[in-house]
Symmetry: C2
Subunit: 221 residues, 2 copies
């Protein structure tokens, strides 16, 4: 089993449980941190000392507080960590379902396991630890189901831009101007309308309100 594990998770309550789970599995050399920046520092120091971590368990969403951080979310942390230690195993622990981002990370071999914070998450974490230790990838059942449901529409950068503008209160009529300023193409009102229609159609929505709420909920914007 893994020997040396780093846990990056801002919620103290979640952090305690992960530690306890590892402890129960006989992993005693664990370090837990509440900030991404700290996580990266510990990873680097461990390499410097010739005793690198085997595994990083990290959340995705980290809350901002009064101590400003360089790295603000788990995905950025993973990228930074993989730069300095490409062979480290990574298990992601997340409350939200961000299928698009997560799928991409799996494809790029940036992560080895995904556990969604849900009813049986403790069990799933144990399974993930076992599976990833055997050099296989793991996804908790909830997230698998969700990803299957969810692959109905692949959002392009353009899609996300216009949804984000909607969320910021920009009217469709004003959008062409905004998009041109940012050198985003296409930029015409027609294209925006067409694209919004397509998204709503695929997702079974009738109103932009639903689309914006949906994207917000999934963490796309």
């Amino acid at each position: 089993m893994f020997k040396k594990v780093l846990i990056a998770e801002d919620h103290e309550i979640a952090n305690i449980s992960v530690q306890k789970t590892l402890h129960d599995l006989g992993i005693h050399n664990t370090k837990y941190v509440y900030y991404c920046d700290h996580a990266l520092t510990w990873i680097k120091n461990a390499i410097r000392d010739g005793e690198p971590y085997d595994l990083l368990i990290t959340d995705i969403e980290f809350e901002d507080d009064d101590s400003p951080q360089e790295i603000k979310d788990g995905l950025s942390l993973i990228k930074a960590v993989k730069m300095v230690q490409p062979d480290i195993k990574v298990i992601v622990l997340t409350a939200k379902d961000r299928s698009a981002l997560i799928n991409e990370m799996f494809r790029e071999n940036q992560i080895d396991g995904l556990v969604r914070k849900a009813r049986r998450d403790g069990q799933h974490l144990r399974e993930a630890l076992q599976t990833v230790y055997q050099h296989r990838t793991y996804q908790s059942p909830d997230s698998k189901k969700f990803i299957q449901e969810q692959n109905s529409h692949e959002f392009t950068q353009f899609d996300l831009h216009i949804v984000k503008l909607l969320y910021e209160g920009i009217s469709q009529k004003e959008m062409p101007e905004y998009l041109q300023q940012r050198d985003i193409r296409p930029s015409s009102l027609s294209s925006i309308e067409k694209r919004l229609n397509l998204m709503k159609d695929v997702l079974g929505f009738t109103k932009n309100e639903q689309l914006v709420a949906h994207c917000k909920e999934l963490g796309f914007i």
Copy 2:
């Protein structure tokens, strides 16, 4: 300190930590359940056996799964529990900030403590346990701050109804019909428009998209 505590929390990882926290404080007579219905049953049985619980620690959001439940969320659970045991102390543990609902529960003396799942939530839970045991109420600092920020607009039932309809993809034009069917008043298009304007005005929004996303994010709908 409390002697007998019931924990209702669907996430196994959160549940483990709460148990551990209680254990560290010397509270060993704890029961943890993953469903609201189970929680109510245990409360009732404890009363029947003459050994009622001192304290209920409960989440608010419970995820649906394949085992259908009578009580689907923490607030309903609290109401049901208070019916059978009005003197039980209640600490709520929640990830989202539902200031309106929570404030109401505090006012009605339905809950004694509120801990938001955040960076220092373990610490806050310990503080809540101490404070509530002394018959005082407790709110974790995050939630206090949030409630202050948030009191810009007090959403009425009517407000939430129309926002919810928007979220469901109903056009404003169709809303009067819906509202009349459900005996909600007022129901005219004018009233709906006026109310939407007021909400957007207070919150500094220009579009319904923002309003819906905002309410969704705060768990109002």
